[in-house]
């Protein structure tokens, strides 16, 4: 090893040290960044709540086929604007989904209605009014598609959920 080769060592060490420190900074930044859920839940909650509320308003006012089409678009937009996790967002998602699926069902599009039900309904939903609504819409959609067995199952689940909510309401008296 000659003198020139020996001189290469210190620089390499400095670069390694710098890279190590950069890695530390990047890790620190990732750790310090507030979770997306927290940002969505606390910072932009007004935005998605307003969007959802406006979509329901459009759906309330929809009388003609064209207006219902507009309401479907608004409800879809509101659903897409929802954060993954935020306080109350699950309820809002189920409610928007049930409204959207109901409108599509009324327009004769049972497949789209069922598709939305499946997209917004969790595998094990907590009992709630919009979750029961979704199950009812699913039952209607299955009925329209000629799947009686699945329709009866959905209605049964909706009734059980409705009954659970009623029991909870009575317990609160």
């Amino acid at each position: 090893m000659n003198a020139l080769e020996r001189r290469k060592r210190p620089r390499g060490c400095y670069v390694c040290w710098a890279l190590l420190c950069l890695g530390l900074v990047i890790l620190g930044c990732e750790a310090a960044e507030p979770p997306q859920d927290a940002q969505d839940g606390a910072g932009e909650s007004g935005s998605w709540l307003r969007t959802a509320r406006r979509a329901h308003q459009v759906a309330d006012d929809a009388k003609t086929v064209e207006q219902r089409g507009q309401a479907v678009a608004e409800l879809e937009e509101a659903l897409q604007a929802l954060p993954a996790h935020a306080p109350g967002v699950d309820w809002v998602r189920l409610d928007l989904g049930a409204r959207l699926a109901q409108l599509q069902l009324e327009q004769g599009d049972a497949r789209s209605a069922l598709s939305w039900v499946q997209r917004v309904m969790p595998k094990q939903p907590e009992p709630s009014v919009p979750a029961a609504n979704l199950l009812v819409v699913a039952g209607r959609a299955y009925e329209q598609l000629g799947n009686e067995k699945q329709a009866v199952e959905s209605y049964h689940q909706a009734l059980v959920m409705n009954q659970t909510l009623m029991e909870r309401s009575l317990e609160g008296l």
Binding site: L4, C21, A32, A158, L170
Partner: protein, 175 residues
């Protein structure tokens, strides 16, 4: 090496450096991390490096003398202030060595100080959805059993009220 030999060697080195010599100098500079491409090597360094390289390869020089010339070349280039983009790069590296750990510590301090606060904020907005009224639940049950347009309209109206109640609660909690 005697004085006469030195003069002889120096006489051989007179004149312009050739393209090959400059390329060698650039390669040497790369070894020294003084520049990654030939254009980044200051012209004086290139010429000197070329001259010393040529000198070190003279057949009359033995191993220890050649090694001494290489060491001298390395020392000279190291003492010379680096210019241009190289200088900026070295300066940036020096800053980075100080700034990187400082920034890492600062970020961790902020995380430890503020992170727990954000958790509290989340818990504060973790609200409870208002319970539905029994009337709404009864209408919903009837809608499941025997849906009529009247039941549908009644349910939509009741659901509208309940929805308004929930949204008002959510908005109040996020304010």
């Amino acid at each position: 090496m005697s004085r006469s030999e030195d003069n002889e060697l120096e006489s051989e080195l007179e004149g312009e450096a050739t393209e090959a010599e400059l390329a060698e100098a650039a390669a040497l500079a790369q070894i020294l991390e003084r520049g990654t491409v030939r254009e980044q090597l200051p012209s004086e360094d290139a010429l000197e490096a070329a001259a010393l390289l040529q000198l070190s390869r003279h057949p009359e020089l033995d191993g220890p003398k050649r090694e001494a010339i290489w060491a001298e070349l390395a020392e000279q280039l190291d003492r010379r202030p680096v210019e241009g983009t190289d200088q900026r790069g070295a300066s940036f590296l020096r800053w980075l060595l100080w700034l990187a750990p400082a920034a890492g510590v600062a970020v961790l301090v902020v995380y430890l100080g503020v992170g727990s606060g954000s958790d509290d904020a989340l818990q504060a907005v973790n609200i409870e959805i208002p319970a539905p009224s029994k009337q709404l639940l009864r209408v919903q049950a009837r809608l499941i059993d025997a849906p009529t347009q009247h039941e549908r309209d009644t349910f939509d109206e009741q659901m509208g009220h309940y929805r308004e109640q929930v949204y008002a609660s959510l908005e109040a909690s996020h304010r």
